[in-house]
């Protein structure tokens, strides 16, 4: 933002009020509106260098000069822990740093090594993570990445995922604190996914691939250790789900007959992108059908049910189609858009299916959107077909995966800086 000297305070407080307090301000002398054409040019010649300096990470003096009560970024404390790996992990368990599995000690040198993967300075704030609003600085994210067992080259992917979950549309505060079984599912797109070894094929949601396992795990550690959501305390999950250990895969762009997710969501083909989904779990959809219309019918019938948050809150449910199922649909003439339209139309649920108490809540939530609500209202799973997410992933096999969501959440995508 460009401001004249008289307007710095206003500019800074406006940015802060809009939740954009860290946007840099380039300052010029006041007044500006009355300058001649020649004077404007002279100002521009000086200002352009300042704009570029700020845009490429230079320190914004106006942010320091107008210190309206925002705290300085905190740096990580240095702590003495047992040297022995087993004893170190006993201490981690006592401190509740872990997800329950062993951690790698985040020594200064390991964190330095991890930081070589970052494009941003160590003490840069990436996001504040709800519900504790702890500062996810590049440094703190790197510390948790070391503990999770990430490689340094995964750090930009992790940072993009942290930014993405902190976007208000994702609703990380709701997801962290809920009694529901919600966890971020990370989808990686672009050539970088393959280069870094993310699994998009056989067992892509399961164990065995370092990139998938440690990236998802690192995000969980960030949510717990920086976001402050400890199970049984701010994290009220009744059961949680296995995806809270790690839930991460790449899209199988090579095997997909359609547009990859990141292109669908407005990015260029050659960009690398992370998308996070507020996933409630996974459901195996096993069908040998080779007929598009029939396969469509059984998938639509499988995803809409009376205890679904998506149906209740007009959510954004997701499908992971196997390459074989995607091929059945493609041969049947479907692309992602027409498939979503057909699934949306065929997956509506009669309102009478809700339990009585849930019916009352759903009526409150959905009646104005639907223009009314009665026992025979056919309730769609999402506001429109556009809110059904589809990726192609997995290896050979006649299975797809339904990923219902927390309902009050929308997927968020971020470009990976690398």
């Amino acid at each position: 933002m460009v401001c004249s000297t008289a307007f710095i305070t206003l500019g800074r407080s406006q940015l802060r009020a809009l939740g954009a307090g860290s946007l840099p301000i380039a300052v010029m002398p006041h007044p500006f509106g009355v300058r001649t054409r020649v004077q404007v040019r002279e100002l521009a010649e000086t200002l352009v260098d300042e704009i570029v300096r700020l845009a490429t990470g230079g320190i914004d003096k106006t942010a320091q000069a107008v210190n309206a009560g925002s705290a300085k970024i905190t740096t990580a404390a240095v702590l003495a822990m047992p040297n022995d790996l087993i004893a170190f992990n006993e201490e981690c368990e006592r401190r509740r740093w872990s997800d329950g599995l062993p951690l790698i000690p985040p020594t200064a040198s390991r964190v330095e090594q991890m930081l070589t993967g970052a494009q941003r300075a160590r003490h840069t704030l990436v996001a504040r993570v709800a519900p504790g609003f702890g500062e996810a600085t590049v440094e703190r994210i790197a510390i948790n990445a070391v503990m999770a067992g990430c490689r340094a080259e995964y750090l930009p992917v992790l940072m993009a995922a942290v930014e993405a979950v902190a976007d208000p549309q994702f609703n990380i505060q709701g997801i962290q604190a809920t009694t529901n079984s919600a966890a971020p599912w990370i989808i990686v797109n672009g050539a970088l996914a393959t280069q870094l070894g993310f699994n998009a094929g056989l067992n892509c949601l399961g164990q065995g691939t370092r990139a998938n396992a440690t990236l998802g795990r690192a995000l969980r550690l960030v949510l717990q250790n920086i976001g402050g959501a400890l199970p049984g305390e701010m994290d009220r999950a009744t059961h949680g789900q296995p995806g809270k250990y790690s839930f991460c895969c790449a899209e199988n762009e090579v095997a997909s007959p359609w547009t990859p997710l990141h292109v669908e969501r407005g990015f260029a083909h050659d960009e690398n992108v992370v998308t996070v989904v507020g996933a409630a779990g996974t459901l195996n959809l096993n069908s040998h059908s080779k007929d598009a219309a029939d396969l469509l019918r059984v998938i639509a019938a499988s995803i809409s049910y009376p205890t679904s948050n998506d149906v209740h809150f007009a959510g954004e449910p997701w499908l992971i189609l196997s390459p074989e199922h995607a091929d059945v649909f493609a041969r049947g003439g479907y692309d992602k858009v027409t498939l979503k339209e057909a699934i949306w139309a065929q997956s509506k649920m009669p309102a009478s299916s809700f339990a009585r108490k849930d019916y009352d809540r759903a009526e409150h939530t959905r009646s104005s959107e639907l223009g009314g609500f009665a026992r025979d209202t056919l309730v769609p799973i999402s506001p429109s077909p556009r809110e059904i997410g589809i990726i192609v992933a997995g290896g050979p096999g006649t299975h797809s995966v339904y990923v219902p969501t927390f309902g009050q959440t929308r997927a968020v995508s971020r470009r990976i800086d690398s």
Binding site: M1, V2, C3, S4, A6, F7, L10, R16, G19, A20, G21, S22, P24, H30, F32, G33, R35, R37, V40, L43, A44, L47, V48, I51, V52, T56, G57, A71, T74, A76, A77, V78, L79, A80, M81, P82, W97, P105, P106, T107, V111, R120, A127, R128, A130, G132, F133, G134, E135, E139, I143, N144, E163, A166, D167, L221, N225, I226, G228, G266
Partner: protein, 97 residues
């Protein structure tokens, strides 16, 4: 041999709700797309003309995108935001006079 090792604390102290996301610096302006949202105050469009020219000539910016609000006190339209979001790596706007 020491019984202890020094590690960095992975836990952040609780904070206050602040910005939803922080400003992401660019590594370079070369090859980037820069947008201007003109706040319709006097001289801004001339400034944007000059800055745009200088950003391209001196810093290798690939493309300049120009949008203008109808008045200073009204927000830019959703279409403007969508266009900016899709095309631009950096957006410059003005505040005040």
């Amino acid at each position: 041999m020491s019984d202890t090792q020094m590690v960095l604390d992975p836990v952040a102290p609780a904070g206050v709700a602040g910005d939803s996301a922080a400003f992401r610096p660019l590594a370079t302006l070369a090859g980037k797309v820069v947008g201007f949202i003109d706040n319709s105050k006097p001289n801004f469009s001339l400034l944007a003309d000059d800055l745009g020219e200088l950003l391209m000539a001196k810093y290798g910016v690939a493309k300049i995108v120009r949008h203008r609000k109808p008045t200073a006190s009204v927000s830019a339209s959703p279409q403007v935001f969508a266009d900016i979001k899709q095309q631009c790596d950096l957006v410059i706007t003005g505040s005040g006079d």
